[in-house]
Symmetry: C2
Subunit: 362 residues, 2 copies
């Protein structure tokens, strides 16, 4: 089936571009001594997670217990939940999952560590726990230094838990546009991670893993000498927001592999056309989608199920029924809107991959 025959809106994945992205990431980390553990919250797809592992990743990350369950059920054997897990039901499910796969989790609170220990005991398992430290994003995470050491001690002293290291992710640094500012943010994060790791090791506790990084900064964490695991996610797909980052000389370039295919459903004026893809087809939290390879045609406004295109004077206007590719503003929440990736190679449909963990937000 040709791409043009696919009904719209559809989430389209260019397999050639995806495979080049996987290879470029594998090449980028090769020989660095840094393990790659890509973030599966971007794709929520066991098929892609397995491809990442086949390309050298040690496992994947995800954010939710339900995502971890879906990925493990899809054949992924090693999942780190890069999040705090709170509440009896979720803790019991997390502990149950440890029977089936290698599953790690974060903590930033002593009471939560006690709850994790109890859940592990009830299930008769041992859960791997990393301490999340706040390295500048001011979201979750305990303060680096002494507070983190105290929490590491508690984990190490819990019979049913294993202290596995530090989670030091600087989320807001990923989308800082200028390389110099990204460098400064990650240098500060690495310093906090180093300080905390040193303190913990001096206390006689092994600090096996220091993990963090995303698509915008992973080369910096890789070079830091303190991070030994990185968790970029968006590199498999890219999006309009990441495309606005200024990329550094010598960094691997990733290609746009993810698109929303949309149809022109109305062409009421020479300077305006309307696509059948709005807010429910492409997430706009990081800006509007961009029209792929159609200069002079701009996606100007989204409502629930409509996308209004502005057509510059002198541009050949898209015609009614024409199909266009959109580059989503933000890949992660856009993928979460769909049940399937329509996988294409040279505009021919080759496979349908389920978004295994679509909507798995609990």
């Amino acid at each position: 089936m040709a791409l043009d025959e696919v009904d719209t809106p559809a989430l389209v994945l260019d397999l050639d571009a995806l495979e080049r992205n996987l290879q470029r990431m594998a090449d980028a980390v090769k020989g660095s001594g840094v393990r790659l553990r890509p973030h599966a919250k971007s794709h929520k797809c066991a098929e892609i997670a397995r491809a990442q592992i086949a390309a050298g990743a040690v496992g994947v990350c995800c954010q939710k217990v339900s995502e971890a369950e879906a990925l493990v059920a899809g054949g992924v054997a090693d999942v780190l939940v890069t999040n705090e897990i709170v509440g009896k039901q979720k803790l019991a499910r997390l502990a149950r999952l440890v029977r089936q796969a290698k599953v790690g989790v974060l903590a930033d609170d002593a009471g939560n560590v006690a709850d994790l220990d109890a859940a592990a005991r009830a299930e008769g398992v041992r859960i791997e726990v990393l301490v999340e430290i706040d390295v500048g994003a001011h979201r979750c995470g305990i303060e680096p230094g002494e507070p983190a050491l105290a929490l590491a001690r508690r984990i190490a002293a819990s019979r049913n838990l294993r202290f596995a290291g530090l989670h030091a992710y600087h989320g807001s640094a990923q989308h800082v546009r200028a390389p110099a500012q990204r460098r400064a943010a990650i240098a500060a994060a690495a310093e906090k991670a180093t300080l905390t790791k040193t303190l913990i090791e001096r206390a006689g506790i092994a600090c096996e893993t220091v993990t963090g990084a995303g698509t915008g900064t992973f080369m910096l964490e890789s070079a830091s000498r303190v991070y030994n695991e990185i968790q970029p996610g968006s590199y498999v797909f890219m999006d309009a927001d990441y495309n606005r980052n200024v990329w550094e000389e010598g960094w691997p370039r990733f290609e746009q592999s993810l698109f929303v295919l949309a149809t022109v459903m109305s062409a009421p004026a020479p300077d305006r056309a309307v696509l059948d893809a709005g807010l429910k087809a492409s997430s706009v939290d990081s800006g509007l989608p961009q029209v792929h390879e159609r200069p002079g045609v701009e996606y100007a406004k989204a409502s629930d199920e409509h996308g209004v295109l502005k057509i510059s004077a002198g541009t050949m206007a898209p015609t009614l029924g024409e199909k266009l590719l959109l580059v989503p503003g933000h890949c992660d929440p856009t993928v979460n809107l769909y049940n399937w990736f329509v996988c294409v190679r040279k505009r021919k449909v080759e496979a349908l991959w389920p978004v295994t963990a679509r909507g798995a937000v609990w």
Copy 2:
């Protein structure tokens, strides 16, 4: 089961508030001679559509053929697709659906009218078509007046179509905050609708229905003397954006019935806590969610799976594991993220209603 036992994030529907909203809308249109055809794109739920019809609605609207299919399969007998439908596959499905239910559709293009006619002929059915006119929103829709008359003539002359009237929806007027400006926008829309209706009737073509309106303006269309059908959707739920509209004296007040239940998963600092509900749990296209009945606690930042709360000095901070209700910024795309409404009455779970047409965007 008590609401507090529901795992999070969850989409919560307060049935008492929902029922009061349904009643208030029924009361508002009673005796006006205007038919109520609520928009089901807000809830995508056959259960709610049937409740709206039981409360006096003549049927519902939706935006997509796939939504119409899901609603008809869920027992709704009268659906108006308030959108242009373009492409062979969709047109064939639309025509097929006419065998099972009363289904109408819009057109704003002569070529599309020919395609609709061909699809109806192929299926051996007659499709009801309304002409969409642009009354100020500048999205889809043909120009009012002569161009609309020409299109109505074409529909009326098509053997397998029936001209059913005008669609005159002013989308952008719904969220205009000030009553006077909303009044002006709908007065202008009504004038365009009147002019076009008169032209069509003078040409000897019956113009049965003039439909439009949303939750922000329906009292104005109802009073216009030209609209005889209204299609408000959000009134069943309300949201943070609609709550920012200044409501007019004497208009029915709708209550917030839709919430996202979220858990505090991290409380790392006295002025900050983090919820397990981010972009993938509550759409932020019309602004961030609001924390329900917790003054001093503000939802300040959303990432994929985290919501950062800012806690004012002197406010009792939410504790780890505490569950809070959020008012979504925009109800329609938030509902589309979930598979179920958790329906509660006085904080007890009474039912689970499927979001029948979740993700039905094609």
